[in-house]
């Protein structure tokens, strides 16, 4: 396989949504959907005289994430001010961290493993910072270009963010997407971020093609968009190169509406952020003991969980990885197992293939899935007991997912119980033989026609007939026809 000449690095901003308050003040952090400027205090509004005080839990969560990403945690956490003017920044500086002038990020180095098309790969982490989110700008006309003024809501100002920066180790948009999915899974398993929430995970991407200049792409709203934006950008850059045009180093903006990257209209002034230490926040000393305490209290990470699934439940590595990719799915699986004593692989199979596929097809959000683990367990039990066929199972699964009805209820309501009574099936087979006499004679010599007849029985019974039994009976009765015991 030819080596990819694409280099991609990501800068991911993740909100620590599990925190109840903001990073430097005690404003409640659940600002989504609330009226503007109602989750604001002198500190996060940047009123003259207000002072920041660090949220202890935010530091704990940051340490947990650093541990999960195998990063080296700094013994002293120091905050810096990063200066730039913008209406969403109430102090016109952001309190963040810096890695020069005596400053240090909360953690350096680290890695996480991704799996793309069966190939495992390590993506290295460069650093992890903790910093505050700015407020939100609203453009009255809907566009940054045409709005005659800007509306500002500071509810989000001061929310705790982790900035996770990678090395440019990714070589394709798929790898970038895989990285973000894995990161998301880790954060969900740690319980620090509910990444379903709007705006809780944002990414900027850096990409260079064929050793050319590095282009930064900002304003990518979700991991899904990252793949699209990068794919577009690779094509754009490759086209330019093939035309002999040099790709220049610049910052581009992902236009989600038109699905293209555009050069940022605003000239990126040589940004001099004038970083210097935040004197209002004394250093935070993190001892080895404290880190150990946090490590011991950490929830199970996805990779560890996947290994356990393989060991405890006999799943394949692939099956385990797919399940742990979303914490809710892995939780669902283990919960369902409590009610299902059959083969875990069977359960995994249903979840991964039918359940998950249908959910992705309909683009359902996890919180709109009404199915309970007990329902799926029950479903499988019904299958095992041959009360329903696999076909029926697939048929009623969507209703369980969307409405949360128990399988037994649905089967009764829609009269879908499997027919496994010989006499009943015999009667139907006879009917089918009568209606398809030519096929019966064909079936005496042609195997395909046998299947056709079975299919007709299934059709008549709306899939309820037990397929194996049906097959048996059809063959039996064909034999009778051949022997002349049955006249068609």
């Amino acid at each position: 396989m030819e080596k990819s000449d694409v280099k991609i690095g990501l800068e991911v901003h993740v909100q620590l949504t599990a925190l109840k308050t903001k990073l430097f003040c005690s404003c409640p952090s659940d600002y989504r959907g609330k009226p503007p400027n109602t989750h604001v205090c002198p500190v996060c509004l940047g009123l003259p005289g207000a002072l920041p005080v660090v949220n202890k839990k935010a530091i704990d969560y940051a340490i947990m994430v650093a541990l999960a990403l195998n990063s080296k945690i700094n013994e002293k956490i120091i905050f810096f001010r990063k200066h730039y003017f913008y209406p969403d920044l109430p102090k016109n500086f952001q309190i963040t961290q810096y890695d020069k002038a005596g400053g240090a990020p909360i953690a350096l180095g680290g890695f996480l493993k991704i799996n793309v098309n069966g190939k495992e790969k390590i993506i290295r982490i460069r650093r992890i910072n903790i910093e505050e989110d700015p407020g939100k700008l609203v453009y009255p006309t809907g566009s940054i270009i045409t709005s005659p003024y800007t509306l500002v809501d500071y509810n989000r100002s001061g929310i705790a963010l982790l900035e996770i920066v990678t090395e440019p180790d990714m070589t394709s948009p798929a790898e970038a997407r895989a990285f973000l999915n894995k990161l998301r899974s880790i954060l969900e398993h740690l319980g620090v971020c509910n990444c379903e929430l709007e705006g809780s995970m944002r990414a900027d991407a850096n990409i260079s093609v064929a050793g050319g200049s590095r282009v930064e792409i900002k304003n990518i709203g979700s991991p899904k968009d990252v793949e699209k934006a990068l794919a577009y950008e690779i094509v754009r850059q490759k086209q330019a190169i093939s035309k002999g045009v040099t790709v220049k180093s610049e910052t581009r903006h992902w236009d989600d509406l038109r699905k293209v990257t555009v050069p940022l209209r605003v000239k990126e002034e040589e940004q001099d952020y004038r970083y210097f230490p935040e004197a209002d926040i004394p250093p935070i000393v993190v001892t080895r003991d404290y880190i150990e305490k946090i490590r011991k209290s950490m929830p199970e990470l996805p990779d560890v969980r996947a290994k356990r699934f393989v060991k405890e439940y006999g799943l394949t590595e692939y099956e385990a990885q797919v399940l742990v990719m979303s914490k809710w799915l892995a939780d669902f699986f283990e919960e369902a197992l409590k009610y299902y004593s059959g083969k875990p692989r069977k359960l995994a199979n249903i979840l991964i293939n039918d359940f998950l596929r249908w959910i992705h097809e309909k683009e359902l959000e996890p919180n709109s899935i009404k199915a309970k683990p007990q329902h799926i367990a029950e479903l499988l039990k019904l299958l095992d007991e041959k009360v329903i066929s696999i076909k029926i199972l697939k048929n009623i699964l969507p209703e369980i997912i969307v409405q949360g009805k128990s399988p037994r209820k649905i089967i009764l309501e829609r009269n879908l119980v499997r027919i496994s009574d010989r006499e009943t099936i015999k009667k139907i087979v006879l009917e089918v033989f009568m209606e398809h006499k030519k096929s019966v004679h064909d079936a005496l010599v042609n195997e395909k026609a046998v299947h056709y007849l079975i299919g007709q029985v299934m059709r008549k019974t709306k899939g309820k007939a037990d397929p194996e039994l049906t097959h048996e009976i059809v063959l039996e009765m064909l034999e009778k026809v051949r022997k002349g015991e049955l006249k068609i």
Binding site: L19, K20, T21, S26, C27, P28, S29, P35, P36, N37, T38, H39, V40, C41, P42, L45, V53, V54, N55, K56, K57, A58, I59, F85, P87, G102, L137, V138, Y139, I144, I145, S147, P148, Y149, T150, L151, V152, D153, Y154, R265, V266, E269, D272, R274, P277, A279, I281, P282, P283, I284, V285
Partner: protein, 93 residues
Amino acid sequence: MITEELMDHLAWLARIKLTEDEKREFLRDLNRVLEFFNEIDKVNVEGVEPTTHTALLTNVLRDDVPRKPLPQAEVLYNAPEKENGYFKAPKIL
């Protein structure tokens, strides 16, 4: 030496518009202040760590317990321009 170009750049970084008179006056004053700043050139600081905090505190942390925010009316009270609960800021582009 602070040149006019540097001073313009600094005024831009600080988002302060200076009048022509001020530019002339400041160029002179700021260079005198710079000479004054330069006196610390003479101090040997080899091997010396910088001091940002004199209070020698560490680990000043707050519990993750929510407190009531300011009422919206108080938040917006001093805003020179506002609309529907938002602050009204100038256009971006």
